[in-house]
Amino acid sequence: MVYIISIILVGIGVYGLMTQKNLFKHLISLSIIDTAVNIFIVATGYVNGGKAPIYTKNFPSFAIGRFVDPLPQALVLTAIVIGVGTLAVGASLLVRVKEKHSSIDVENMKGVGE
């Protein structure tokens, strides 16, 4: 069920990458794909009726099959923070593109492809 949502979101992101002419929209589409893939990876580890993988006072014992798979969560946890770093690099490149070519629209850029 969550698989379907994330696949549709990937499709929307690819559609945005193909149709939009504004480079800022490309950045936003890439970010949408990023979120969708993160949701997909976490969804592969979900167990019906599972609990969050934390030992607490109310859930002290280790009854198995009750915790969801913690490994995809650990992978996604770091991937999200890497995502903001790469997005910041992309956004700062766009600032320089705007200064040099006076536009971030691929059809209005000056000094490109002439």
């Binding site: 549709i8 499709g11 019906n48 006072k57 490994l71 650990a74 770091t78 956004a91």
Partner: protein, 255 residues
């Protein structure tokens, strides 16, 4: 025309991914006992016997591993934390390096000498409430990364919350600019400290980033050995790095 082809391609991609959906586990049916995570959940990856767990039967491998006892291979109550900074700690070191590289990249691309002005005076509510909220936000960030081995959270969200506090300072004060020397030296010393923890582990236990401190009781604050210390260094490092990114996107060149 362009839109039509784009819809065609995107729909084809979605259809292809739906076809591949049959090859992975259905949603909610993942068998944790069958995966490598079974060993992480047992907090014991060094033993080789892959005991199959049966639901209901409660066939627990090796020994009863519960909250409030001691003597585990890794003592943090949060299993995700014990994966991120204990079993896969070398991977996390690489991720922190990638984050450092992206922060350096933003600094190289946008670096300047002058702080960008928004060109308007911040309103009264923002100015006054920043003074009240800022210590609370920073305290919350520190709380999150100190308790990373007990509760959800950890170094990465804690550092991000500290960076959000710096962003609030930038929004509320036109003259404020972050002292880059303090930020960069904190970041560098924390990154070095992470590697030093790894080298001490190599000397003490024979493996890089080995957990060389006693593990303690699962669920208490002083437990899990080196995990809280490493998560504190990660939290301070991520916080100073993302604060540096926030500061650098506010910088302009002269003229």
């Amino acid at each position: 025309m362009r839109r039509f082809y784009a819809i065609l391609v995107a729909a084809g991609l979605v259809y292809m991914l739906f076809m591949f959906l049959g090859t992975i586990v259905p949603y909610g049916k993942a068998d944790v006992a069958d995966r490598v995570s079974a060993h992480f959940l047992a907090k014991d990856v060094n033993s080789i016997s892959p005991t199959k767990w049966v639901e209901g039967d409660k066939q627990v491998p090796h020994s009863e591993r519960v909250y409030g006892r001691k003597g585990f291979e890794d003592g943090s109550a949060n299993v995700v934390t014990s994966i991120v900074v204990n079993y896969r700690s070398f991977d996390t070191l690489g991720e922190v390096t990638v984050l450092f590289a992206s922060a350096v990249g933003v600094g190289l691309i946008l670096g300047g000498t002058r702080r960008m002005k928004y060109g308007r005076k911040p309103n009264f509510i923002l100015r006054v409430s920043t003074g009240i909220l800022l210590p609370l936000i920073i305290l919350f960030g520190i709380y999150i990364f100190v308790h990373g081995h007990l509760t959800p959270g950890g170094g990465f969200p804690g550092g991000t919350i500290i960076a959000a506090a710096v962003l609030l300072l930038y929004l509320s004060n036109e003259e404020f600019s972050l002292n880059m020397i303090v930020s960069k030296s904190l970041e560098g010393s924390m990154g070095s400290l992470y590697v030093i923890f790894g080298l001490i582990g190599l000397a003490a236990g024979g493996a890089f980033l080995f957990n060389f401190l006693p593990n303690g009781v699962v669920g208490s604050l002083f437990s899990a050995g080196v995990v809280p210390l490493v998560y504190m260094t990660i939290g301070l490092k991520v916080g100073s790095e993302l604060s540096g990114v926030v500061a650098e996107i506010h910088e302009e060149r002269e003229g």
